[in-house]
């Protein structure tokens, strides 16, 4: 195996381990660190898919913005020692695991049935110039709609946090 393949396996293992830690850890701070690890891993996978711009945006937006926001949410939601652990009853875990495994089996069936011919092809490169042309020529309306969505959601979050009545 080439060194690139070993690095790819390491990146993939990082992603999967981060996702498992984000879901299964008992403390929210560890879950957040698992999420950050998974985000870095997904950025590495984007590099292997020949999308380095997207990998950079992944690190900027997810690791730089969203996880900081979640960290603020964790800090603002009361002191840690008053909070219950994340574990709920084992029965609920087993039920959730059963539902997830069933749906994943169905999805594996769909994927293995549909994309059998697509292996062994090299991923194609998309340059940033091409991406910018697509954004401003063909996808102008979704682009502006996303901008509007972000403005509305930020103003809405500020209004929610400012004007909600407290009742402790």
């Amino acid at each position: 195996m080439t060194p690139g393949e070993w690095i790819f396996i390491a990146v993939m293992a990082t992603t999967l381990a981060g996702a498992l830690a984000a879901v299964l850890s008992g403390s929210l701070v560890y879950a957040l660190f698992g999420l950050v690890t998974a985000m870095f891993g997904v950025a590495g996978i984007y590099i292997y898919l020949n999308a380095p711009f997207l990998a950079m945006m992944q690190i900027l937006i997810y690791v730089g913005a969203i996880s900081i926001l979640i960290a603020f949410a964790i800090m603002l939601a009361g002191p840690m020692y008053l909070r219950p652990r994340e574990w709920t009853t084992p029965k609920k875990f087993v039920a959730a695991l059963a539902v997830v495994l069933f749906s994943l089996l169905v999805l594996v069936g769909i994927i293995m049935g549909s994309f059998r011919a697509a292996s062994g092809v090299r991923p194609l490169t998309v340059t940033t110039e091409e991406l910018g042309r697509v954004f401003l020529d063909k996808l102008t309306l979704p682009f502006e709609a996303i901008s509007l969505l972000i403005v509305v959601s930020i103003i809405g979050a500020i209004m929610l946090a400012l004007f909600s009545k407290g009742e402790k």
Binding site: T2, G4, E5, T15, L16, A19, A22, V23, L28, A31, A38, M39, V42, Y46, L49, A51, L54, M57, Q58, Y62, A73, I74, L76, A77, G78, R83, T88, F93, A96, L97, V99, V100, S103, V108, I111, F115, A118, G120, V121, P123, L124, T125, V126, L131, V134, L139, P142, I146, L149, I150, S153, I154, G156, A157, M159, L160, A161, S164, K165, G166
Partner: protein, 108 residues
């Protein structure tokens, strides 16, 4: 470049995104607090983005639509995180905790 390399295989990307989706679904159903559910939602968003980029970059011509829509997903995830932070602060002010299963009234 030979076609035998492990990262030139579409299935491995699809299975990685499937695993992320499964982890996210499990977390949304199993987590106790709203922040845990938010973290799992971010995992689901990442799975969707990874799936889009993998399928777009292995498709016939190198189209930029997959990457463009993954950037849209990132924008939506940022907006969702901001809204969720506002909701979590409001819920914590009103109820004193952020457990999803214990919130039973929605008066303003």
């Amino acid at each position: 470049m030979t076609g035998d390399l492990i990262y030139h295989n579409l299935h491995i990307y699809l299975f990685a995104s499937l695993f992320l989706l499964g982890c996210g679904l499990l977390g949304v159903m199993y987590r106790r607090t709203l922040i845990g559910m938010l973290i799992s939602m971010e995992l689901i968003m990442n799975a969707a983005g990874l799936n889009l980029v993998a399928l777009a970059s292995f498709s016939a011509q190198g189209n930029a639509y997959g990457i463009a829509f993954t950037l849209f997903i990132m924008g939506i995830a940022a907006a969702e995180a901001a809204i969720a932070l506002g909701i979590i602060i409001t819920v914590f002010r009103r109820f004193g905790h952020i457990e999803g299963g214990q919130i039973r009234e929605m008066k303003g």
